[in-house]
């Protein structure tokens, strides 16, 4: 039992990333504000990055460095996603005067 607390393995990081991803999923599903939803998506991307880096540490060597390069690319793509997504939120707010994703049913019917 003490092993769980004192012996730090890569599983700790992986499970923490899974918990973060689950929290992000709950945020996407349960909140109505578009900004909170976008922040939850960023949370999920960070959880994926943490998994990538934990496995990079696990493997080591040149393959692990490739994992770090992949995490760098994930961060860059997440930045692009945040820019475009926030532009969409601003445009939505400009036309609809709210950012409530439950009321954005224009494409539903």
């Amino acid at each position: 039992m003490n092993d769980i607390f004192y012996k730090l393995t890569v599983s700790h990081f992986l499970i923490l990333a899974a918990v973060l991803f689950a929290i992000g999923t709950v945020g996407v599903l349960m909140r109505r504000n578009a900004l909170i939803v976008m922040m939850s998506i960023e949370l999920m991307l960070n959880a994926a990055n943490l998994t990538i880096l934990a496995f990079a540490r696990y493997h080591g060597g040149a393959a692990g460095l490739e994992g770090q390069a992949l995490a760098f690319i994930v961060i860059a793509v997440a930045a692009a996603e945040a820019a475009v997504g926030l532009a969409i939120v601003v445009a939505l707010f400009r036309t609809r005067r709210h950012a409530d994703i439950d009321r954005l049913t224009l494409l539903k019917h």
Binding site: K7, V10, L65, A69, A71
Partner: protein
């Protein structure tokens, strides 16, 4: 509201202090750290174990401080994430997100990803969160019903399914710890077990095998600009398209014949409090 700000400040302070504490924790050798009678009592262990680099199972001895640090950072990360998805106030949610990102950067540093820890602080906690704060200022409107509670039964089922999936995935991930080199508190991974040809003409192979180089800016940059050159350039193109798309989306579009360009009435007509993005 003041307690919220205090909690966020504590999160940020813990995340900032973490790499320093980690660096101090990692300095002494395992035996010296365990006996506690002096920092330099075990030089023979220093010479004996440091160059061989096998991570092994010695993490139980030397990783106790690192494990404590991990629990503090994990608490900060999960607490910040829960803070984000439960706040009504958007600025408080953004601040919790900043604390989460700082703690995540410290966790990256614990995984020897120092370059990515710096990038995390610069890009996420710096740039992206500033963008979020600007949009929060534009959208300064309190929401009347923050939680989407329609169809509560289905969402409760979905929550239970997520919880079940999380437990099962955690059980699978926990099995990873029994593999030999899964102890995170061991020595830094080495570049020497690379099987690919280095292709490095300038520096001899000895420089590529320095075991204190794994995860540094130098080694990650080498990987990015050699094997990952094409994805790197593709990402630059993605960022260019994202910049152009962001500007095109967030511009206020108006009918070109209704309000000709430079018309002051056209500008004051749709004057909104924050349309400068």
């Amino acid at each position: 509201m003041k307690s919220v700000a205090a909690a966020v400040l504590v999160l940020v302070a813990v995340a900032l202090a973490a790499p320093v504490a980690l660096a101090q924790q990692r300095e002494p050798e395992p035996q010296a750290a365990r006996t506690r009678d002096g920092a330099h009592t075990a030089p023979r262990a220093d010479q004996a174990e440091a160059p061989d680099g096998a991570a092994g199972h010695q993490g139980f001895e030397n990783g106790r401080g690192a494990a404590m640090l991990f629990w503090v950072l994990a608490l900060a990360t999960v607490g910040g994430a829960l803070f984000v998805i439960t706040r009504r106030n958007l600025v408080a949610a953004v601040m919790g997100m900043v604390g989460t990102f700082f703690a995540l950067a410290a966790l990256y540093a614990m995984l020897y990803a120092h370059f990515l820890a710096a990038i995390q602080v610069l890009v996420y906690a710096g740039a992206i969160m500033v963008l979020f704060v600007f949009v929060v200022m534009i959208l300064n409107r309190p929401e009347d019903e923050p939680w989407a509670l329609q169809g509560l039964l289905g969402k409760a089922l979905a929550g239970l399914a997520i919880l079940y999936l999380l437990v099962r995935v955690s059980g699978a991930l926990w099995a990873v710890k029994d593999t030999p080199h899964a102890v995170v508190a061991g020595p830094r991974p080495q570049l020497a077990d690379s099987t690919r040809p280095s292709g490095d003409l300038q520096t001899p192979s000895k420089a590529a095998q320095r075991d204190d180089d794994w995860g540094s800016t130098r080694s990650v940059g080498k990987t990015l600009f050699r094997e990952y050159l094409f994805p790197f350039e593709a990402v630059s193109l993605v960022l260019l398209v994202a910049v152009v798309g962001g500007i095109a989306l967030s511009r206020p579009h108006r009918d070109p014949e209704a309000t000709p360009e430079g018309n002051p009435e056209g500008k004051s007509g749709d004057g909104e409090p924050g349309e400068k993005s």
